[in-house]
Amino acid sequence: MTGYLMRRFALMLLTLFGMSILIFLVMRLVPGNIADILVDSAGIVDPKQKLKIEQELGLDRPLIAQYWQWISGLARGDLGYAYVSERPAIEEILPRLPVTAKLAVLALVFSVLIGVPLGVISAVHRNTFLDYLMRVISLSGLSMPSFWLGLLVLMAFVQMLGWIPIYNRQPDSIWAEIGLLAIPAFVVGFRSSALVMRLTRSSMLEVLKQDYIRTARSKGASEKTVNYDHALRNALLPVVTIIGIEAAFLLGGLIVTETVFNIPGVARFLVEAIRSRDYPIVQNLVMFIAFVVVTVNFIVDITYTMLDPRIRLES
């Protein structure tokens, strides 16, 4: 077990290292750099001024040196300076994390709260009208771009309540904040719930085919006991894995949703930083996202082993 965990951990580090090289190189392939942007924002084309800025930012140094500077800094916990704001990158990233984290967790809660029950009901009533209806609803959820759903929700709010649920100031209390974030979280979560629902359903169907379900029935267990006591318990194991995949899926959804609802989180910040070629921000944020995805998958793996007695009790 520890051997396995150690191996997984080593692979994780390897993956992150590879990611760091990939993102570093890809960002430098982008035509135009921050110096262009800084010069452009002032509407001037003097190549001397551009060169001066590049020198100041160290963009004229060899790529290896730039990479080493970034990675060695990262190891020390120094994320470098954001080009655009000229502040330490960490100060730009950290304050934006909580709201995105809250949003992601809320969205995950929504997707599980909607997805798991629907998936179970759909599986239990497989091939009935109810099942078809739920599958069609979930599939349409999966088919709608979340930014569009977000726009529709915004329009509905404005049209019906004359109030626009955007995050334009820090809400007064945590509850007010959750209330405000619940709307975009629902939009993201609804889409993800479709995935959870489909996977719960197929997992549940798989479990319902198992011998031990027949055993439970042969004991005289009621449908309720069979479905919720025997089957769900087993079906939820793969659903835990799904939540790992979800975490990655959600981050993608947050990028557009934060934009639509004007939420000052890291996901929207990433798009902005990509647009302005703010390498220190993009590099560190992408690494952070990769780190989250890899770590969540790692945690999911561990959780899986904790939840499944077959693995947990292995010596």
Binding site: L38, E86, W163, I166
Partner: protein
Amino acid sequence: MRVRRCLGWAGNVSVMLGAAIMAMASVPAEAQKRGGILRMYHNDNPPSASLLEESTVSATGPFMAVFNNLVMFDQLKPEESPDTIVPDLAESWAWAPTGTKLTFKLRQGVKWHDGKPFTAKDVQCTWHMLIGKGDVGDFRKNPRKVWYENLSEVTISGDYEATFHLKAPQPALIMLLASGFSAVYPCHVPQQVMRTKPVGTGPFKFVEYKRGESITLSRNGDYFKAGKPYLDGITFKVIDNRSTRLLAFATGEFDLTYPSDVTVPLMKDMKAQAPTATCVLNASGVSANLIVNREKPPFDNPDIRKAMSLAFDRNEFNTILSEGKATYGGAMLPRPAGQWGMPEEVISTLPGYSADVKGRLREAQAIMEKLGYSAAKPIRMKLPTRNLPTYRDPAVILLDQLKKIYIEAELEIVDTPQWYAKVARKDYTIGFNLTGVSVDDPDANLVENYSCKSERNYTHYCNADVDRLLATQSREADREKRRKLVWDIERILVEDAARPMITHGVSGNCWHAHVKGYTAHTNSIYNNTRFEDTWLDK
């Protein structure tokens, strides 16, 4: 004829409307109330807080209130002109009889936000940095360097007198110094700090700037203008989506829209949504124009350039983008909002400005057909423009119009970071462009965009005649004589198709009834956000 009538009407109505309301808003009889936070939104992230390094309204909007100029345009008077220039850090100013020395008497006892005293040295430092005299430190960008092409040095006499020495007389220098961008910087603060946590003498102190989120300013208790400012602070919340932010304004989340943020088509909706709010429409100082590469085929051919000039249907642009409220003219802001615009009878004689749009189009088509082009055999090319909606939308209309003269262009959306580099490489045939002008004066506008030496003349248009005329008009003290010279320059620019002008835009600004002491200016959006007179009637 239709064009001209439309033009005059549009200009008059918008400006008069604006002026009338402004006059009401600035009635001084009311007693100002102190306190309250002015809640604004921002439509963009200012590239930095350093006004001297930036050239967009996204920087002046929030940061002009942090600084003071030597002189400024009266914040409460809608029209900016030499007559509305008032003292700021300078108590008074005087020209030497030669017209080459301008001496400012400075206020005493003024303190920077960090507590250090303001002296004439700071004035000297600021302008020496702008003309590249001595060590400029990490001053990165200098977009208005050409404004001070004529400035040889700034000398000081004691702590409270500074003299600007010019190579040649330039009466309009005082106009340039009144621009919102012409802030006085402290000597003792490095430029990196000025970009991130600016230190000024202005009515509001910089508190913080969270990119993509907010900008916060707080009242400067030590402000040298007694009793001012009235507000406790100003907040700007960054909201990208225009619908969202305008709705938020309408629902009372904000007191004031961002300068020039309300487009003409949205004005109606704003009035419906927020009927008690005051909304005015003014010239935005931004012109839609084309940059033409006169070295690259097919536009190296003057005939094709002429056909293109003839083919413009300015009314269509105007109707779609501004519901007919935009104005037409040369490079300078057209009358009546503009001080330097050509009279209508002059404009209508310019190639491509006659009211007979259909006739012009037929003429243009005939030229193209003579050159062997037709709908079946069009010129195919790319038309680059910046990846911003304000650029894209009109560019799409342009594509459609070019199609009528057998030019099938495909829009090439260029990301902001590559735009000027591309233009500098001359990697385009024609491109769609917007030019913003902060001060309605030829020394700012024409010199900046058309003189051979200018940093911002990115098309590298260079005409010795134009440069000579530019220098002459700059020295001319008589405004009427200067105007004639300017018109001559304008005609050359139009005939050269230097940057064919399509329209001069208008944009709106709204504020709720409780906002007092704020005036939208009729001929610029860059110079009226000091907010030292603004107060909330709540």
